[in-house]
């Protein structure tokens, strides 16, 4: 399979809308930060050291256990155009950081896009595992397995007291960052979201935007992840986050029930209007698209809007991003043309889903 498939196909397995509570918990991700003992961290490594790290990773691909998890495709960042990198970022397969500063950067992708192993990002290795729905335990087990495979071939920088040594002090210890992407329109509409987000902060978890640290939470999508990596075991971190995610899901369901019981007509009106906009608009900006897609998703969850699978909504969330849109059309587009293409793409995709 060529790397082109990762870029031209919008659909990744994590978007299939399956897995526990997948209506609210869209996806679960576990990322492990690892470094190889013999080399300086990527910020200080020379070009030739970065090459050696890349070569070591390519060797791991030959491991029989690794092949069983795959098949994998190895992609160097310098082989990609800016737009292609952006598409991988929009699909959550690489980080904004690897997209922007990719000296010696590469990514090892499994065919089903469940594994994405970033090379020479902030750390030598970022082993990422992404699943649909609330499946943190499964994602951790898969990432752990892949970590063991790498460990057979390279010496990880590890210290008895500090754990896995990482470039940034915020990742030291387990090096684990686990996160759940959640769609929480009910909590936003009932104005409870801030209360819940500040409670989350008190239990060592953090809310980030859709593409991680520093990005916006648009379309009522929130990414909740662990903040602490030192002093807690991976299992504790996964259990904590899973338990908090369950509680947020319950709160979101309660908010939705409240809205359906007390403001049904208003809610139906808003959601159906949004559906009307998406199926008819000729120009749509990304913020408006995110907002209306969120409404339609909620409409599907509540049975108000029928015949559209959730996977289509997940797919559209990725497809309407600037990078993907331009890739889809096959040319660079200015902001105005993007708005037009975005509207057309949404109309077409929703129409074909209804047929």
């Amino acid at each position: 399979m060529s790397f082109q498939n990762f870029i031209t196909n919008a659909v990744s397995e994590w978007m299939n809308g399956e897995g526990e509570d997948a209506d609210i918990a869209i996806s679960s991700r576990v990322r492990l930060a690892r470094n190889i003992q013999e080399y300086p961290f990527p910020i200080l490594a020379t070009d030739s050291q970065l090459e050696q790290i890349t070569a070591a990773v390519r060797q791991v691909m030959e491991d029989e256990d690794c092949k069983r998890q795959g098949p994998f495709e190895f992609i160097r960042m310098d082989q990609l155009t800016g737009l292609q990198k952006r598409v991988l970022m929009e699909k959550h397969l690489i980080s904004p950081n690897l997209m922007a500063e990719s000296r010696g950067g590469a990514v090892l992708l499994s065919e089903n896009e469940a594994f994405s192993i970033m090379v020479n990002e902030e750390d030598h290795l970022r082993i990422q595992c992404l699943f649909s729905g609330l499946q943190l335990q499964k994602a951790w087990e898969a990432a752990d397995r892949m970590d063991d495979i790498f460990e057979k071939h390279v010496n990880f920088a590890f210290d008895e007291r500090r754990g896995y040594l990482t470039s940034c002090p915020t990742n030291v210890g387990t090096g684990i960052r686990a996160s759940v992407m959640m769609h929480l329109p009910g909590l936003v509409l009932t104005h409870q979201i801030n209360r819940i987000l500040s409670a989350i902060a008190q239990v060592g978890l953090v809310v980030r935007g859709l593409y991680g640290e520093g990005s916006d939470a648009s379309g009522n999508l929130f990414q909740i992840s662990n903040q602490i990596t030192l002093g807690q075991s991976e299992e504790e971190i996964i259990e904590n986050l899973t338990s908090v995610a369950h509680q947020i899901i319950e709160q979101e369901r309660a908010a939705r029930r409240y809205l359906m019981q007390n403001r049904r007509l208003l809610l139906e009106d808003q959601l159906c209007r949004s559906y009307g906009v998406l199926t008819n608009a000729r120009i749509i900006e990304s913020d408006e698209a995110a907002e209306k897609l969120s409404d339609v998703r909620l409409g599907i969850d509540l049975g108000i809007i029928r015949n559209i699978p959730l996977s289509v909504m997940n797919e559209l969330t990725v497809m309407v991003q600037p990078g993907f849109l331009q890739q889809h059309v096959g040319q660079q587009l200015d902001s105005d043309s993007r708005d037009e293409r975005r509207a057309r793409l949404i109309r077409e995709r929703l129409q074909s889903a209804m047929e």
């Binding site: 300086p40 910020i43 200080l44 008895e160 940034c168 387990t174």
Partner: protein, 174 residues
Amino acid sequence: MICQECHQRPATLHFTQIINGEKMQLHICEVCAQEKGHMFPGGMNDFSIHHLLSGLLNQQGSNAVSFQQTEQEKSLHCETCGMTYPQFSKSGRFGCSDCYEAFAERLDPLFRRVHGNTRHSGKVPERSGGTIKLKKEVDQLKYELRMCIEQEEFERAAQLRDRIRELEQQIAHL
């Protein structure tokens, strides 16, 4: 909110600029931001976790009363990669794994602030972890052994005792 520049599109980017001590709020759209050079790579805000860390580290420095101590910090560096303590505290990132040793005495307060903890208690790699993994297993088995003795399960206790001896011999030979 409408963009302050074009007065047409909605403002999607919000900045606070401080120029010569004067605070200015900017609300602009993506198009105008791009034209005015306010766009950041990947739509990311330039402010990152590293700025925060750097702030924390430098705060520790400014708490230090004597000039001598700051001088000492200035000369502190990692022999392996050459990263100096001032460089580390400015970037908020280590240069190599040996920096953890080089700046060891400065790190506990930082880790306590960021993680509320200074010691790892998670996964231990098979090889690089040396004997830690085996020692952990021995601790766990010893705990199980105590439980077995308390519950008078002597047959299982004997098995555990043999396994513990075996592991302890392995550790001694490593």
